[in-house]
């Protein structure tokens, strides 16, 4: 019996050391990517290519889900607010929840599953088929040539996608509450404008989405670069990217919200 307890404790210790070790490797890899990203700015067309794959191809899902999230927020908000006779505040509700929270967070979750998984799978498969090793043989640095452009493309496209998501949501809420239900158009916009502050709400939401962009793409490129060079390894790495980045987004969101919106009415 004591033997089993000891082995269990040893197991816990082993896992802790393993995860700390992995975190260290990930941080060092992140620094390496930052150090070697000079190439991606000198040859910016590499980043543009990746912007197409991570940004433009994510547009459809971001636009559609932003629209629907806004529509649902408008509908549910109207149902609740009309009980208190203040259905004209529905614009405020939709805009504040989108700009502060849902825009950056849901866009980042969608981005992690749409673009993050694709980045991991691509880099992992490049590693499995020894394309990265071949680049190294030709004195082309795979981190500078393959990893850094993908990282920067993700960092650039994430805030833009979050902004598009929020705008689509605001217009989705407008569509449902003003056009379908018949809330006054003037009060929808004016109450929203008097409640949403540029610096506190919009700028902080933008900063949030920048953080999420860095976190998601850093995790995605690391998992891809670190994936075991087998079919199983690549599939495991892709799953880990989505799970880890979703958890990191939610945790980071809580921390950032606590710093940004504490004491704000």
């Amino acid at each position: 019996m004591p033997k089993r307890i000891v082995s269990n404790i040893r197991n816990i210790g082993h896992r802790t050391i393993e995860s700390v070790w992995r975190l260290g490797i990930a941080s060092r890899f992140f620094l390496l990517v930052l150090l070697k990203s000079g190439t991606s700015f000198r040859r910016f067309n590499l980043v543009i290519r990746e912007l197409y794959f991570t940004g433009v191809l994510s547009l459809i899902i971001i636009v559609v889900s932003g629209l629907f999230v806004g529509m649902v927020l408008g509908l549910q908000g109207y149902e609740t607010l009309q009980k208190y006779g203040s259905e004209s505040a529905v614009g405020t509700l939709v805009a504040l929840s989108l700009v502060r929270e849902l825009g950056p967070v849901v866009a980042a979750l969608l981005f992690a599953s749409r673009a993050g998984s694709a980045i991991t799978a691509e880099i992992g498969l490049m590693k499995a088929t020894e394309q990265l090793a071949a680049m190294g043989m030709m004195a082309v640095d795979p981190v500078a040539r393959v990893v850094a452009p993908r990282f920067w493309a993700g960092v650039i496209s994430m805030p833009l996608l979050a902004a598009i998501f929020s705008v689509m949501g605001v217009y989705g809420g407008y569509l449902v509450t003003v056009v379908f239900i018949g809330v006054d158009e003037g009060s929808y916009w004016s109450q929203m404008q008097s409640a949403v502050d540029f610096r506190i709400d919009i700028l902080n939401g933008f900063i949030k989405s920048c953080f999420f962009g860095v976190a998601v793409t850093a995790i995605a490129v690391f998992e891809g670069y670190d994936a075991p060079p087998t079919a199983e390894g690549v599939s495991g790495a892709t799953t880990r990217t989505v799970v880890t980045s979703s958890l990191v987004i939610l945790g980071l969101d809580f921390i950032l919200t606590a710093f940004m919106f504490r004491g704000v009415s």
């Binding site: 940004g55 433009v56 805030p159 902004a163 404008q193 704000v264 009415s265």
Partner: protein
């Protein structure tokens, strides 16, 4: 895919993102309503500020003319010192009356300014002398009950 087509799509994407940010700041936010770069600061002492918060609007005749930037408690006078950032387009006389009002039944509280008749205008750092505290529901009910009891005694 052709290089130029890809460039076009990426360009469209970036333009869309920037336009979205501009819509957020101009149409959803209030960047255009109130520009704090041309402003002057005034303050006022209130006996009770009720639920007034930092960033609450300062209105005159219902128009937003400034914002509350700071609320402090003064240990010299034992009341609240409210600092307001006023748009410099709007100048108010020195004997302007400031009161804390509530918009609607459950709405937010704001500071309402009623202009006086003084020739001298309020300048940066000036203090509003005439203030009116926020209505506190308990005090209101208390006063009502007190008056009621006083009325009953006279019978």
């Amino acid at each position: 895919m052709q290089r130029t087509t890809m460039d076009l799509w990426v360009g469209l994407f970036v333009v869309m993102g920037v336009v979205a940010l501009m819509i957020l700041s101009l149409k959803v936010g209030n960047l255009n309503v109130y520009n704090p770069s041309h402003s002057y600061t005034i303050s006022g002492n209130f006996e009770n500020i009720g639920g007034l918060k930092v960033r609450a609007p300062v209105k005159s005749a219902g128009v937003v003319v400034g914002r509350v930037t700071d609320i402090q408690f003064s240990t010299q006078t034992y009341d609240a010192v409210v600092t307001m950032d006023m748009d410099s387009r709007f100048q108010f006389p020195k004997d302007t009356f400031a009161s804390i009002l509530t918009s609607g039944l459950l709405g937010e509280q704001y500071i309402g300014l009623a202009a006086g008749g003084d020739e001298v205008m309020l300048k940066e750092g000036d203090k509003i002398m005439k203030t009116n505290s926020a209505m506190v529901l308990e005090e209101l009910i208390g006063r009502f009950l007190f008056n009621k009891a006083a009325d009953d005694d006279s019978f």
